[in-house]
């Protein structure tokens, strides 16, 4: 037997140079330098809470479909010529635009972004095309078990809260008209309260200047985008959604989460890692590496502006659906009842700390973290503060967080699968109620 070499001395998290400025129009620009490759990453987030879902979804799909002077293809070609590309997306809190380009193309890319933000036209033909594209994508998603399970879980967890439905129905999308997109754009695509993150191979001050120059024509007051706080989890029977013939069951468990600034957050993060938040967790070692029920179980805290929820997900073979739930509840209960082993906790702690380092070692990683944090009023220095908190959390605190937040009695469980085959085994463990996806 050879001996495992020890780790070298821990290196403190080093944050790269940054600059920040809130422009007169209310847009906050955060620029970060990483010069390893001659590129630049951009992430724009515009508050979009409570926007009408079908319209907002189609707006995200058609934002780049033309200005008064440029067509869809002109925009794409112009971006390409500086090595650039921009994509849009939507979540219940915001509209986002992400992309990258050769660093020499930053000015041009921001200029095009500015043109789109101030002058998107939503031409009728392009809207008709993108409407069909979006409808097709939704129809494919509606045949994906992961999507169906998530849809059922969101409805079950969020009830009448705006987060309950995050994908529109095809019929709703079909009814959206270009004029409605123009109105929504005018109303909500506003710089006030938005954030733009720029990461790349240039001095941060220069990146901020470039953004100020390209985007100062973008004006307008933000609309109240505040989403009410998420409701507390309401426990109840396991919700079983039938997917006849499914060769796997999609198991989803929601538990209370905590926002990043909550004093128990670091402790809950470590408790979650020990339970199922990384490969070396009890859940993975049990239901994958010991029992072979699943390929990749995972649990994590999902942060949204109106609240955080811990979600555990696993796709398990149909014929072991009952046993997989049994083991899952056992592992939650074990951690909620007994403190983790000291070495188990140290391993999770080192993983959490190391992930921070690995996560910001690329331009894209820095951009993603900075943009995500900015959406919650945090900055990259949160990473350093969080590292300090992770280092200080005690075993007792982790045990207390597990007892409080990971207890199986607090769980909301949804299973999507072949109900005829799995209802009996599940009903042996808990009360089951049939429902829709």
């Amino acid at each position: 037997m050879r001996e495992l070499p020890p780790l070298g001395p821990h290196r403190k998290l080093k944050l790269p140079p940054q600059a920040e400025q809130t422009l007169d129009n209310g847009l906050t620009v955060i620029a970060i330098r990483r010069s390893a490759v001659p590129l630049v990453e951009v992430r724009l987030r515009v508050p979009f809470g409570r926007a009408p879902l079908a319209r907002a979804s189609l707006l995200a799909q058609t934002l780049f479909s033309g200005t008064a002077t440029m067509s869809t293809t002109d925009i794409a070609a112009e971006l390409q010529s500086v090595g650039g590309g921009l994509d849009t997306g939507l979540d219940p809190d915001r509209l986002f635009v992400s992309g990258n380009a050769l660093v020499t193309g930053l000015d041009r890319m921001l200029e095009i972004l500015g043109a789109v933000l101030t002058d998107a036209q939503y031409p009728a033909d392009e809207v008709a095309i993108e409407r069909d594209v979006l409808v097709d994508h939704i129809q494919v998603a509606q045949n994906q078990p992961a999507h169906l399970a998530r849809r059922a879980l969101l409805k079950r967890v969020y009830g009448r809260h705006p987060y309950a439905i995050q994908t529109p129905e095809p019929e709703q999308v079909r009814g959206v008209r270009p004029a409605q997109l123009r109105v929504l754009h005018g109303d909500r695509v506003r710089p006030d309260g938005a954030t733009l993150v720029i990461v790349g191979d240039l001095p941060p001050e220069r990146a901020v200047e470039a953004a100020a120059k390209a985007l100062d024509d973008w004006t307008g007051a933000g609309r109240d985008a505040v989403v009410p706080p998420i409701p507390p989890l309401e426990t109840g029977p396991l919700l079983l959604v039938d997917r006849p013939g499914s060769v796997q069951s999609s198991l989803r468990i929601a538990l209370p989460g905590l926002p990043r600034r909550h004093p128990d957050h670091a402790a809950l993060q470590l408790a979650n890692l020990v339970f199922g938040g990384y490969f070396s967790s009890r859940w993975t070692e049990n239901i994958r590496e010991d029992k072979g029920y699943t390929y990749g179980p995972h649990s994590g805290i999902e942060h949204a502006v109106a609240g955080s929820t811990l979600i555990a997900s696993a796709e398990v073979a149909t014929d072991v659906t009952g046993p997989a739930l049994l083991e899952t509840r056992y592992e939650l209960g074990r951690l909620a009842s007994l403190p983790p082993e000291p070495e188990e906790l140290e391993q999770a702690r080192r993983y959490a700390l190391g992930s921070l380092q690995v996560g910001i070692a690329t331009q894209a990683g820095l951009a993603g973290h900075a943009a995500e944090y900015a959406g919650f009023g945090l900055r990259l220095d949160y990473l350093a503060e969080h590292a300090t908190r992770l280092a200080a959390v005690t075993r007792e605190e982790v045990a207390a967080a597990a007892a409080r937040y990971l207890a199986p009695s607090k769980a909301v469980t949804v299973v999507l699968g072949d109900a005829e085959k799995v209802e009996g085994p599940l009903a042996a463990l808990t009360e089951v109620q049939r429902g829709e996806a």
């Binding site: 037997m1 050879r2 001996e3 495992l4 070499p5 780790l7 001395p9 821990h10 990483r34 390893a36 490759v37 001659p38 590129l39 780049f64 869809t72 293809t73 002109d74 794409a76 070609a77 390409q80 010529s81 500086v82 090595g83 590309g85 050769l102 095309i129 069909d132 594209v133 097709d136 994508h137 129809q139 494919v140 045949n143 992961a146 013939g245 499914s246 796997q248 990384y278 490969f279 070396s280 070692e285 590496e289 029992k291 072979g292 029920y293 390929y295 990749g296 796709e315 398990v316 073979a317 391993q347 080192r350 959490a352 190391g354 380092q357 690995v358 070692a361 690329t362 894209a364 990683g365």
Partner: protein
């Protein structure tokens, strides 16, 4: 822009050496962040698995995580993650990789872990049965329980190719997976997992002299075993159009994928490069030929893609391979119409050439993708390891943007002219769900 893509490049220094036991090593220091990427590649993949053992290369990859000479089951995962790192492995047509991305202070640990399993994994009946179950769940998630599972990477090769190594299902049939034995695994390790058949690449926050000594310390006494001779997997080009279809019971929309053979990526890089560029001219973004034609003009497709290699790895694949185009159609869409339009567009490139700026902008975007790929230490280590293994030239990572930028419009036009319907193999997905 052409000038810009020549100057916008990376200059990662590259050190190469070979240990006494034949292990080839690549080191690429870069102190821009305190992280390292460690990659070990073995020159064996899906094409090398024996008949009756489809999926074995991938199953074996799983077994390499089940403990080794000095490590119990689960130890590998815990030691990597307990150092703040991430790990994975993946099985490709021509190679299998194992890798870790870690904080810089864990470099020696990663070298130890890789060396330990290079000496030999713990192959037990219990671990084999467990991982057969896990792989079956992986196949259910990625192929059997979702729409378009395995499309087109598992569905198109048997249309394009005639020989078992190129045509078979690399994920494997459940029957073959269940038939696998510990003896099979031991034989596979013995033959293919020789250190003479492996590459170690380390990129990131490292000192070359120190790391060279650490590599020697941990890998120096791995027993020398020579690389097995790599057979030729060559097949003749198609002698006529091939077309097949199947019904996907979970798919709501029709889809089609087509492939044309391309020149040998290794033996004929100059002849191959224009096809890599052509795939992007055809499908990269809203200004590309096929997006403009099929989605924006004809509205016969709602999504289009194009790339080289069945796993989409233009710089990681050997001969024989292909250029692939794929499209998802609206409900009731006509695949014939889409294929005809693709032929017309290829013809338009072949006879009408490229428009002003079209090539340069495509190359600029490709440069961004290549540079972006090389920013994470682990993807850099992996790509350099493959370039070492397949081309003996890891430093090529610094050259790829320039090589792509040196392709001329005439070469792209000539490449397009070879993508004729009579050289095409295609597979159609018939939707089994009413959209």
């Amino acid at each position: 822009v052409a000038r810009t893509t020549k100057t916008l490049t990376t200059r990662y220094p590259v050190e190469r050496f070979t240990l006494g036991n034949g292990l080839r090593v690549v080191l690429a220091p870069d102190r821009s962040a305190s992280v390292v990427g460690v990659a070990v590649l073995y020159d064996v993949g899906i094409r090398s698995e024996p008949e009756g053992r489809t999926g074995f290369a991938h199953l074996f990859e799983h077994l390499m995580f089940q403990g080794s000479e000095s490590l119990e089951k689960l130890a590998h995962f815990r030691h990597v993650q307990g150092a703040g790192g991430t790990f994975n492995g993946s099985t490709h047509l021509d190679y299998t990789d194992y890798f870790e991305a870690l904080p810089g202070n864990a470099l020696e640990r990663a070298l130890f872990l890789e060396a330990d399993r290079m000496r030999g994994p713990r192959l037990t009946e219990e671990n084999l049965r467990n991982q057969v179950d896990v792989v079956k769940e992986e196949i259910r998630v990625n192929v059997l329980n979702r729409p378009y599972g395995g499309f087109p990477w598992l569905r198109l090769p048997p249309v394009v190719f005639d020989t078992f190594p190129n045509a078979h299902d690399g994920y494997g049939s459940f029957v073959d997976l269940e038939s696998a034995t510990v003896e099979d695994a031991a034989g596979f390790f013995e033959k293919y997992y020789a250190c003479g058949n492996a590459i170690l690449a380390v990129a990131g926050d490292l000192d070359v002299a120190t790391t060279t000594a650490l590599v020697e310390k941990h890998f120096g006494d791995v027993p020398a075993r020579p690389a097995p001779a790599r057979p030729s997997f060559a097949e003749p080009d198609l002698d006529g159009e091939r077309r097949q279809s199947y019904t996907d019971p979970l798919a709501p929309l029709p889809a089609v994928a087509a492939a044309w053979r391309v020149p040998d990526p290794i033996g004929d890089l100059a002849g191959y490069l224009p096809y890599v560029v052509l795939a992007e001219v055809l499908t990269d973004g809203d200004a590309s030929r096929l997006v403009e034609r099929l989605i924006l003009r004809d509205r016969t497709a709602t999504s289009v893609g194009g790339y080289i290699g069945f796993m989409g790895e233009p710089w990681e694949v050997r001969d024989p391979t292909a250029l692939l185009l794929q499209a998802f159609l609206p409900p009731g869409g006509d695949v014939d119409k889409v294929l005809r339009a693709v032929d017309e567009e290829l013809d338009r490139v072949a006879t009408g050439g490229l428009s002003p700026g079209e090539l340069a902008r495509t190359q600029a975007r490709m440069a961004t993708h290549l540079l972006r790929d090389s920013d994470p230490v682990i993807s850099r280590a992996l790509r350099m390891a493959v370039l070492e293994q397949q081309r003996g030239a890891p430093e090529l990572i610094n050259e790829l943007p320039r090589l792509v930028g040196s392709v001329t419009a005439e070469q792209v036009v000539a490449a397009a002219a070879t993508l004729r319907p009579e050289r095409r193999a295609s597979i159609e997905v018939v939707p089994g769900v009413q959209a």
